[in-house]
């Protein structure tokens, strides 16, 4: 080989006229670079496609159609002492009838009422309970339109389709046109989506319940997995003797990091719910299960960043008389912490997107009330996406995409925080 190398060196001394061999090497390098670049471009185009489909499907979920009603709160409707017992749906129906007095047949009336969401009655009930003095007056209200009307307003129902094939009938179309002409039907920003829990009516469904469930679950996960993970990493890296037991523990930790997450769900079901008797479907159980899942990630990242602290730091600290514990807590740990934090945030982002283990502990459930604490039943963002994607109503398609957008926002924020922390506190030795 050495003789060969010598000949090459001799021939290529003149770089202005490269040999064929050198040209071939340059060409190979160019191709290698192009190959890498095209891989990146391909991956990016997939991401762009994903973002494009999700955003184009989902952006419309942030507006919702509303209809203006003149509601007359007739006194004789509120004779019962309990205001909640009044017939609120009838009030809504009456105001719709007043707007379209020509509608007479029972079938047509039913079609007319179905333009308004059932949520309208709940809203009237809230208003009356907040201020009973308005009984006897007539007031204007904007109430939610039905999801089919909303889909029509968003152009997702084609009026040129055959009547049998669309969910909005011809006479409903004429009413909708009239409402639009009168300025009584319009699209507004959808606050409901951001401020309420799940619902089976697409126009009422919101993401807050799931977002809060995710927050509470991750809070439990973070407050358990970070201290345990850091303590384990420090012990294993700084204090543990090197013997067969620590090797065994290390193999097990690496193994656990690769175990399918549903296994942790089964474990959680067996231990936390069946043995400890913690309540099903709650963030406390979800948080414990996700703790088990993220611990290996945090321990591995923690050990890696402890390893990257140069031994000279430890030796210097020990040399000036610091104890082992002082060395670790005053010098090694602060230097290793940015790396540990990055690992933790990535572990948390992974936990945020997890559904499989939660299936076993009953967090895949229909829950309307926004959870108030860690023992209230709740669900999480990815589960909410899964549940909506599985709902028959067409309007849930855009809610699904919008929920994905919100989940992606959280994930991007967490991951960029990890990058930022690493860049800011990174120390080059």
């Amino acid at each position: 080989m050495t003789t060969n190398d010598n000949t090459t060196v001799k021939i290529t001394t003149n770089l202005l006229s490269p040999t064929i061999d050198l040209k071939r090497r340059y060409r190979a390098e160019r191709w290698f670079k192009r190959l890498g670049l095209s891989a990146i471009v391909l991956a990016l185009s997939f991401v762009a496609f994903l973002f494009f489909t999700i955003i184009s499907d989902g952006y419309s979920a942030f507006t919702q159609s509303y209809i203006e009603l003149d509601v007359h709160f007739a006194e004789d409707e509120f004779t019962n002492e309990n205001l909640a017992k009044a017939n609120f749906p009838a009030l809504v129906k009456e105001s719709m009838r007043a707007m379209f007095p020509k509608v007479k047949s029972r079938r047509e009336k039913k079609q007319l009422y179905s333009l308004i969401s059932p949520a309208a009655a709940y809203r009237l009930q809230e208003i009356i309970e907040a201020d009973p003095k308005i009984i006897g007056t007539t007031l204007k209200f904007w109430v939610l339109a039905d999801d089919d009307v909303d889909m029509f307003m968003k152009g997702k129902i084609d009026r040129n389709q055959n009547e049998d094939n669309r969910r909005i009938r011809d006479n409903q179309l004429t009413w909708i046109d009239k409402l639009i002409d009168d300025g009584r039907l319009e699209r507004r920003f959808n606050w409901t989506f951001l401020t309420s829990g799940d619902s089976r009516e697409p126009e009422l469904a919101g993401i807050l319940g799931a977002a809060k469930g995710s927050f509470l679950t991750l809070l439990i996960t973070l407050s358990l997995s970070f201290p345990i993970g850091v303590a384990s990493a420090v012990y294993l890296e700084e204090f543990a003797p090197e013997n067969r037991w620590t090797d065994l523990i290390e193999i097990n930790i690496n193994n656990l990091a690769a175990v399918p997450s549903i296994i942790f769900g089964l474990l959680g079901l067996a231990i936390f719910i069946n043995f400890w008797g913690l309540p099903r479907s709650t963030p406390v159980v979800g948080g414990l299960v996700l703790t088990l899942m993220t611990l290996p990630t945090i321990i591995i990242a923690g050990r890696a960043s402890l390893k990257s602290v140069p031994p000279s730091i430890r030796e210097a600290a020990l040399g000036v008389g610091a104890s082992k514990m002082q060395t670790v807590t005053h010098h090694v740990l602060p230097l290793a912490l940015p790396g540990m934090l990055t690992g933790t945030i990535i572990g948390m982002a992974q936990a945020l997107g997890e559904t499989a283990p939660l299936l076993m502990i009953g967090m895949v459930a229909f829950i309307v009330d926004v959870p108030a604490g860690i023992t209230d039943p709740s669900t999480v963002l990815p589960v909410q996406i899964y549940l909506w994607a599985d709902s028959p109503e067409r309007a849930f398609t855009e809610k699904t995409a919008a929920a994905i957008m919100i989940l992606l926002t959280f994930l991007v924020t967490m991951n960029s925080l990890a990058v930022f922390l690493r860049k800011k506190f990174e120390i080059k030795w």
């Binding site: 400890w276 459930a365 229909f366 028959p392």
Partner: protein, 347 residues
């Protein structure tokens, strides 16, 4: 040693204090994914109008629901389980073994299972026999009647000459699904029975009769598409030559893009299913643990809401969501059962 004793003490204290905090002030419901879209509407309506906590509903599948439901009596076990089939005797036994002795059975309505395709092509007109021949793993040999062979049919035309010459490709739910169970039982077994020699097997060899009638082919003609019916609807739009199996409510919501096949001369319409004329329809149920009715707040209210005419009646909101209501006499019977909490006889 010190560390160990602290750990042991911690685990002990956790295991002792935990059950105390598990009192429950909301209803816990599990069970069928077919009943889930209906039960959730009732739960939400109940929660919103009464101001009580909204029941929590998990979609676990009928079998998974019974498993949880029959786990025992007490706040850590569900109060109600939804099912797209009646409880099996083996499940009743599990229930009884775990102390769940008083169960109230409530039928809530019917669901039709449709075999649909894209609106871009003509609807098919099938018989149950065609469905069996197209989808069973083993069918009677066309050359030697009375013998079974592995399903040789590749196109619908081979199954029945009046059908179009398209490849058999059916997207349907996996074996864990209640929809699949019901489809196999109603459509395939219905077609299977039309062959006399297979029908006579029922008496002589029930096991192999079941195997013949209930086994779906696995050579690629039947594609398991997961439990997501929306996905099946989307795939049908993309591939007009394929067929999909799902519940009536999905057909109802997507009538502009897919159409149900006519089965034995009956199209899957609301009226045909309600009359019982459409052959592939099944009853839906829920089961209530009687011991929980007085313990968990809101149980009576939820049951009353479910059995009210504005929910499960002919003009009720469940019918709007695609559930097929029961005839009036049946509704009356089951609402009486609910009112008196009439329990099932344990067989």
């Amino acid at each position: 040693m010190k560390v160990k004793s602290i750990l042991v003490a911690g685990a002990l204290s956790l295991s002792m204090t935990a059950p105390a905090m598990a009192a429950r002030d909301y209803i816990s419901i599990v069970g069928s994914s077919t009943v889930y879209p209906f039960a959730t509407v009732v739960a939400e309506q109940f929660g919103k109008t009464t101001g009580s906590k909204t029941p929590k509903i998990e979609s676990t599948g009928s079998g998974g629901g019974f498993k949880l439901f029959c786990g025992g009596v007490g706040v850590s076990y569900p109060d109600i389980t939804n099912a797209s089939r009646a409880i099996k005797s083996s499940e009743m036994k599990t229930c009884a073994d775990n102390g769940v002795k008083d169960i109230v059975e409530v039928k809530i309505g019917y669901d039709g299972i449709v075999l649909a395709n894209s609106k871009k092509v003509a609807p098919l007109s099938l018989t149950r026999k065609d469905i069996f021949l197209a989808l069973a793993a083993e069918v009677p040999d066309p050359a030697h009647p009375g013998k079974l062979v592995a399903n040789p049919y590749k196109t619908w035309k081979e199954v029945n000459s009046s059908l179009p010459n398209t490849k058999i490709e059916v997207l349907g739910p996996p074996p864990t699904s209640g929809t699949r169970d019901a489809f196999v039982e109603l459509a395939m077994e219905g077609g299977c029975k039309t062959f006399d020699f297979i029908k006579s097997m029922k008496k002589s060899d029930k096991k192999s009769y079941k195997k013949v009638c209930h086994t779906v082919r696995e050579d690629g003609a039947y594609v398991e598409a997961g439990e997501n019916d929306n996905l099946i609807v989307k795939k049908l739009q993309a591939n007009p030559s394929s067929m999909g199996i799902f519940g009536f409510s999905f057909l109802d919501q997507n009538a502009d893009v897919v159409q149900g096949s006519v089965i034995e001369g009956k199209a899957p319409t609301f009226e045909a299913i309600a009359e019982g004329a459409y052959p592939v329809s099944r009853p839906l149920f829920f089961y209530v643990k009687k011991d929980h009715v007085d313990v968990i707040p809101g149980m009576k209210g939820y049951l009353a809401e479910f059995s009210s005419d504005k929910a499960w009646g002919e003009e009720g909101y469940l019918a709007d969501k695609g559930m097929i209501p029961m005839p009036e006499a049946e509704r009356k019977l089951f609402s009486q059962n609910i009112a008196s909490l009439k329990t099932m006889d344990l067989k």
